[in-house]
């Protein structure tokens, strides 16, 4: 038999939101509220001085990092290479598959202004200016960078899957094509 303290610790850890006493009792079946409280106090004691605390908040109990450690936790979250937004990815996809391409051409497909997105892609060194188009206004032509290949793990541009290949992998009626025959 596992110790109630260990179970409660696992529950508090795994739960994404505050755990109410009711919920805890539901999971632990037949343990009194008083007992649950006592175990949690024990856990709180054990965690004192560490990086994690067990808080009593509105709806119940919750594990959280200690407030004083906020600078480090924040650093971790910030340093995480922010994922590209959907808008950025869509724009990048257009640049990648139709390069060289002008801003106007991108906007024509996406139907929205892509100024901000292009800037993001620039800052992250995923696109570059490859020239100017020989039309009125000589608009700037964009293409992808070496960093783009690195970011997505391609050796060179010819390794990019074609739009067709991507479609085959991502679109489709969503059926698994299994359960045969």
């Amino acid at each position: 038999m596992e110790s109630l303290e260990a179970i409660l610790e696992a529950l508090l850890f795994a739960s994404g939101c505050p755990l109410s006493l009711d919920k805890i009792q539901e999971v632990l079946e037949g343990v009194s509220r008083h007992e649950v409280r006592k175990i949690i106090q024990g856990l709180q004691c054990r965690y004192t001085g560490g990086g994690i605390q067990i808080l009593e908040v509105a709806g119940g109990y919750m594990m959280a990092t200690r407030a004083e450690l906020h600078p480090w936790v924040q650093k971790l979250q910030r340093s995480r290479p922010a994922k590209l937004s959907r808008a950025a990815l869509e724009t990048l996809a257009l640049v990648a598959f139709r390069q060289p391409i002008t801003r106007a051409e991108i906007e024509e497909v996406r139907g929205v202004s892509v100024d901000g997105v292009l800037r993001t892609l620039f800052e992250r060194n995923l696109i570059r200016i490859v020239g100017r188009k020989a039309v009125v206004g000589r608009p700037i032509l964009y293409g992808t960078t070496k960093e783009f290949l690195r970011y997505f793990g391609f050796r060179d541009l010819s390794e990019l899957p074609t739009l067709k290949e991507i479609e085959a992998l991502t679109a489709g009626p969503g059926q698994e094509g299994e359960g045969r025959p």
């Binding site: 795994a14 979250q77 922010a82 994922k83 901000g116 045969r180």
Partner: protein, 247 residues
Amino acid sequence: MVFQVKLDVFEGPLDLLLHLIEKEEIDIYDIPIARITESYLEYMRMMDELDLEVAGEFLVMASTLLYIKSKMLLPSTEGEGGDMLSAEDPRAPLVERLLEYKKYKRAAAFLQEREAEQQKIFIRDAGTEGPSPLPFEASLFDLLSAFREVLQKSSSRPSLEVTRDRLSLDEKIAELANRLRKRSPLDFFSLFSLQADRGELILTFLALLELIRQGLALVRQAEPFGEIMVYRKKPSRGRIPEVPSKV
């Protein structure tokens, strides 16, 4: 012969063949091809009777089996007598395929065990929002530089003499709040109509700053220099709206 009704457990013709070989305790290196072909075909008839769609791969295998069977029936054409070298055995390529497939079938079973084991441990439930990185609030600097862009873009256009009455700041704030109520978040740039004149643009910008100051709007970007999104913020009840320190 008793058939397992759960026909869909077979991942393909090779899987079915392996099953038959194992069930009938056949030596994989010496497959009685006539017998196994018969079992296989019987299985296919079953599928047909059960109205199961028989995938093309099963038919291909059936004809392969029949071909091997016919080859085995022929007296050795090369005149080697009945003693066949295994490399020339018409069954050899099939046996090779079966053995190769079996390796990965086992590997799959191994992965399945690991999966079951791993599913017993839980990592923290990051909440309902999913793992999307917390967008951080955009600084005033971000706002200003974005706004500068708006101005630059608008000034590059021939300025239209718009005679329509300009809204007051209060009206602009109300209008903006209304837009956010309808849809949030809004792209920062979408707030500004490039047809508008400079005064109008500035007014919109001031209205946005005022909403932020009042705690009714929140400006965030998902990453440094990322797109700036304007979120609607519900007024916190019973609390004095905080003035964002950044503004």
